[in-house]
Amino acid sequence: MDLKSAIHIASAGMNAQSARLKVVAENIANVDSLATKPGGDPYRRKLVVFKNELDKELGINKVTVARIDHDKSAFKRDYEPGNPVADADGYLYRPNVNTMIESMDMKQAQRSYEANLSTIEVTKTMINQTLDLLR
């Protein structure tokens, strides 16, 4: 358990947060992705789940993406009989993506990313102080 492993852990955390940002971007990009055939399902919102996993090579626990889940909440439903992908009753299903929630998620990911970054900064200062002992 030396200071270098602190940097490894923090960079794994940053990696995980950027994976989360990628999924948020995917959700926002697909906010209007409808079904491809009448009565089909539109885009379903994705969620990232993290886990703490032992890195056997370094002997430390690093955070990784456990899986990418789907949001099970209901789709938004509008009555639009004229739309080509509306179902038999004339209802059109829209993705269960809320851009407000996505932007909050994005902010949170950014904040966690910054926290990991400042961990690296602090650790770097500590390593420099250790090296200063040689002088």
């Binding site: 923090a10 955390g13 626990n61 926290a115 602090v122």
Partner: protein
């Protein structure tokens, strides 16, 4: 001459490794700020006994030995006493962790400065300073 035989140097060395290990534990907390069910950990306070190198418990004299302390470090850690726990069971509070990390960095800096002072004294005594 073995510098680690000087009591003060040995104590400072122990304190430095304590702070290095605490930094690893704290960085783990920050990295897991969004991991469901993760409990924030921290090391027990540094004691005078630990400064003297009397950590107690089992000694690991071989790299293949498993430490008696969870997490594989030299110092024992605990979880709990966190400000809050959110709905996913995560008890990491970023502000709290940043506070602890800064505190740790300042203590580390103080220890390295003391170490430098001490080695300066020894240099003066041995006449290497001239």
């Amino acid at each position: 001459m073995d510098l680690s035989e000087v009591q003060v140097i040995a104590a400072l060395k122990n304190k430095m490794s304590y702070h290095a290990e605490r930094q690893v534990v704290l960085s783990q907390n920050v990295a897991n700020a969004d991991t469901p069910g993760y409990k924030a950990r921290d090391l027990e306070k540094f004691t005078f006994k630990q400064a003297l190198g009397q950590t107690g418990g089992l000694k690991t004299t071989h790299p293949n030995h498993i430490s008696h302390v969870a997490g594989g470090g030299k110092f024992s850690s605990h979880s709990g006493n966190s400000f809050e726990t959110n709905l996913t069971g995560n008890s990491v509070n970023l502000e709290e962790q940043m506070l602890k990390m800064n505190e740790n960095a300042i203590d580390y800096r103080a220890t390295t400065s003391l170490y430098k002072k001490m080695s300066g004294l020894i240099k003066t005594a041995s006449g290497a300073d001239k």
